[in-house]
Symmetry: C2
Subunit: 382 residues, 2 copies
């Protein structure tokens, strides 16, 4: 990293901690006596307080969506390509808010935090969450920041579920809802992959039935396996073929015949797994994949998504990616059909991409143009 | 099971062990000093010895393809739907041979067998194999059974790779080659899933670096995880949706909120995993998935499948299934294109099915009709 930040960067950002001292009643019937949210903001809230955009993160995301924490950072935030001055979510126009959600492991109250009742880390005893609990805590944050209505709530994957839930839980507080590479509920196959990941974690001897933190160990191997499963399913077959093909690490099959890892794709995956295991919390992984599994947008509306969306006042943008087989384009079309039937204003695009589910995070000129155009429309309503 | 076998069953079958006392030179440069093959046969070899059909099993298959081992058996062999009197592979017409291949764990020489040099199980020290080593051992079996030329070599998945290799290694010994739900080589995604399964096994503390058998333990959890990964990828998203949907085991989300397993698909998968872990050998799983990864039909022919297939004299049937995303229809079309370019006689069909890769094992009327018709053609050449 150079001393100055690249052009279009949100620049140096400093996360803030917001503490909430009233109990947060959760969907499961339990409550958090108090909680903290780690938050980043980019841009300035305008005088009318009408230009705030909430960014909702996905399974492994966090508050650091854009910019840099220091000049030594190897990389910027996870959605830096789309957030910054002059970028689709233009921080010269919008006041952008991104937080690490409760249950997370990047500073907000979650399994790594101390349970005030026991003085020990919550660990596996952290209450199970549903996406609406995130919405509830985010609404308290909006109150704190003086944001009555979001210009837009934006999210990909689980973040898109989060955004949809906002639109129906607080219809008057969401002007635009951007749902990217998401679904109204997971398929059985999705749940199956999540459960394989959870079993991999639980069966790591260092998981210690969820008490690894207290016992000073980390279930690295289980986390790495979980990430490897996730990672393969977030990429497309075509992309893996392009990136790795069947390239051999050893150069020749015969030479590497008895080596445990022979193909480039294998070492890449192991590397991704190890990296993830370095800083992600195993209890958070279990907790958040369960949130994904539970999420069923229309369950409380008689399983009728049209009825659910009829509550919404927001305008919608729904984006899918052609090679995403984990949150397939058909899942986005289901959302669009329900929105249309509910007479909501909806724009929809399925973007050609061979990047699989990860496409929502990655550079893509058509996606970028669409995103920019739609956010221009949002800016017109600020 | 009733006392008598169902109509169309191959009936009571008794596996035979064939011992070969000459060393088997393997592709890796090592050799097996001797080896045993467990074999089942159904039907009778005709006087001209022209009606023999070789069945090649896939990753988790074995010699028991049809009929029953006893009247108490809960189920028949793994391909019983397609092998038996009056079935597509009609045992009143054909002499059908199915064996457990070397490296397997169902009685043939493999990691569970004793290494004569040490007097201890081979375990992880069993030599790495390639599909051509299977062909070599199968050719010795054919010699032993007096079969100069197979009327057909038939296989699905890895078995299809086995069949293709036969057709080019021993062109004069294969009259028809049936390649079902297979591919000339795995994709990077396939390799990735296999490596995840292997890592799950290797990281089970009971794997003991491959020495579990000697130490009297079984890496059940790793095997179960490996099977779960495999199983999800052998089914289609649509099929899992049809079979399980998002049905909750507890009946209600709230009641099951903190249960580790909530959805029917999860308990199904765990059950499949446990069942598999009961009798499959972990070293065999690693060994055979590596065979799958290594397999590259045209590697020794300048990466030119047309050149490779030009050696073949057999007629081919290539079958794919529409929802198979592990061995996608496009992989079969690649085989067909190469065969056509090599001027071989090839029939091809992509069968509509929502059963995913597993379709090649399961009842399907179009598949059955096609299989029957093609085997009728094979019978005409006996």
């Amino acid at each position: 990293m150079p001393d100055s930040f690249p052009p279009g960067s949100a620049g140096l950002v400093v996360p803030e901690v917001h503490r909430f001292d009233s109990p947060l009643e959760l969907s499961c019937g339990r409550s958090l006596p108090a909680f903290e949210l780690v938050v980043e903001t980019y841009g300035e809230l305008n005088a009318a307080r009408s230009n705030a955009v909430l960014i909702c993160h996905a399974l492994s995301g966090h508050h650091h969506a854009a910019g840099f924490h220091g000049s030594e950072d190897a990389r910027p935030g996870w959605w830096d390509h789309y957030i910054g001055p002059g970028k689709p979510i233009d921080t010269e126009t919008f006041y952008v808010v991104c937080l690490n959600n409760i249950g997370g492991c990047h500073g907000s109250t979650g399994p790594r935090s101390l349970n005030p009742e026991t003085g020990r880390p919550w660990g596996k005893h952290f209450p199970p969450l549903r996406v609406r609990d995130w919405v509830k805590s985010q609404a308290l944050l909006a109150d704190r920041l003086g944001i009555e209505q979001w210009a837009a709530v934006v999210g990909g994957s689980l973040g898109g579920m989060n955004a949809m839930r906002w639109a129906v839980e607080h219809p008057e507080r969401v002007r635009h809802c951007l749902v990217i590479a998401s679904a109204m509920k997971l398929t059985a196959q999705n749940i199956a992959f999540n459960e394989i990941a959870r079993r991999a974690i639980r069966s790591d001897p260092d998981f210690r039935d969820g008490d690894f933190a207290e016992q000073g160990v980390v279930p690295r191997n289980g986390l790495a396996l979980a990430r490897m499963v996730g990672h393969v399913t977030y990429l497309s077959d075509a992309l893996m073929g392009l990136r790795f093909g069947r390239e051999l690490r050893s150069g020749s099959l015969q030479r590497g015949f008895e080596a445990p890892v022979q193909f480039a794709v294998e070492s890449y995956l192991h590397h991704q797994g190890e990296k993830f295991a370095e800083d992600f919390d195993a209890n958070t992984y279990i907790l958040i994949t369960k949130m994904l599994d539970y999420f069923d947008f229309a369950r409380d509306y008689g399983d009728d998504p049209v009825r659910a969306f009829s509550r919404a006042q927001a305008r919608f943008l729904v984006v899918a990616f052609s090679s995403d087989w984990r949150f397939a384009p058909e899942r986005s079309r289901e959302i669009v059909r329900a929105l249309v039937a509910a007479n909501r204003d909806v724009s929809h695009a399925c973007i050609e991409s061979d990047m699989g589910h990860d496409a929502f995070l990655l550079p893509n000129s058509r996606y970028e143009a669409l995103f920019r155009a739609y956010m221009g429309r949002v800016a017109g309503t600020c």
